[in-house]
Symmetry: C2
Subunit: 226 residues, 2 copies
């Protein structure tokens, strides 16, 4: 992956905490690779609605800056509005709790990306299939290639959307508690509590006689508590 600068526009330029802004595209891609859930914001009439969604990324996808793929049932209520407006997709990974000597400087360590854009409904059948494979592989790398091809009925029931990654910004906080000069005169413990996501042992369905695939075991070990 090459390192590129993000090109946030005014609406993806953070109004505060610019020191936490990261303009390194490879870090954005790393965050999008680590995270499993995105939060999609759409305007529904007079108010915003924010929903958790699965996603996948194709850095070389046909959209400006690469493509972020979402999918959903063609019957989903958010689908129609999403195609008629600019939406926001936010991806956040929580990395730790920051406990200062004052309540004011308590914080969290995190990485968060905000992508704003007009989604494109993916209609090309090859791109749809590739995007759906990416959505599976995003959860479990290498798995899509082991599954039967989607049926015509399954494809007809599924909408695939692509959002350009061009208008993206990322913020990140890491490290210890911010320190005011006066804090050194205070007493009390201060520090960080690192947080991470782990996987527990896979639970096999009753009707399955096959062993857990190597790819799944690798992923669990990668995430795992060890």
């Amino acid at each position: 992956m090459t390192t590129q600068h993000l090109s946030p526009t005014a609406r993806t330029t953070p109004t505060r905490g610019r020191n936490r802004q990261v303009d390194d595209r490879s870090r954005l891609m790393a965050l999008l690779s680590d995270a499993l859930v995105a939060h999609l914001g759409v305007v529904a009439g007079t108010h915003p609605v924010v929903l958790p969604v699965a996603f996948a990324v194709d850095a070389d996808g046909p959209d400006a800056g690469g493509s972020l793929y979402l999918h959903g049932s063609v019957a989903a209520g958010w689908l129609g509005p999403t195609l008629e407006q600019d939406v926001c997709v936010t991806v956040t990974e929580l990395d730790g709790l920051v406990l200062a000597r004052t309540g004011f400087h308590h914080s969290m360590n995190y990485r968060s990306a905000v992508v704003i854009g007009r989604p494109r409904q993916v209609t090309d059948q090859e791109e749809r299939v590739r995007a759906l494979d990416r959505l599976v592989d995003h959860m479990m790398p290498g798995r899509a290639g082991t599954l039967p091809a989607a049926t015509r009925k399954e494809l007809a029931a599924t909408a695939v959307l692509a959002l350009p990654l061009a208008e993206a910004s990322m913020k990140q906080r890491s490290g210890g508690a911010s320190l005011e000069p006066g804090d050194l005169e205070l007493t009390g413990w201060a520090g960080q509590v690192p947080l991470r996501r782990v996987a527990d042992a896979p639970v096999t369905e009753d009707y399955v006689s096959e062993p857990v695939p190597e790819s799944v075991l690798r992923r669990v070990a990668e995430l795992g508590p060890a």
Copy 2:
């Protein structure tokens, strides 16, 4: 905690997956207690913006259904718009990956709450202090009582918002892969990979000579990988 039914309105009634809707208020409160980050959606002119935020809950707070508290710098760009419109706060915990025999039935296990409402700026000084204490204790139970009181300057720099929990809905998916009759004729492994958040050992700041407090060690052990 008493078990109450949520009262979602049309805009917090899921349009799909009603079988995943949970109308038990104690489960909503449990999710809000487990989660550390919320995603706040506001409309910024012509498009929504979704930002990760810390939050806290007072089930007996002065707002209808209880109060969900947010805070931020008085200089934060999202603050003004947030006070002039209905907003959406979504809280999601990811509980596992669901790997089916078909790509179509791949899914995730999760709990997600959607709260919509008009935020109230908290101006009463006692409620502000209580809310800020709750925000610290949400991260680390019992910690606020061990910290010095916020200074006037800190309080002046901090905006506190309260969102009523009245208009909330919750969705939850748990268990194994959905099964079509045809899937039994397929081969291949299927199952779940449980996911959870863990804490690693606290990292003490250089300038601190005090030992890690019991309350922090308890919380780390509670979350911890053991």
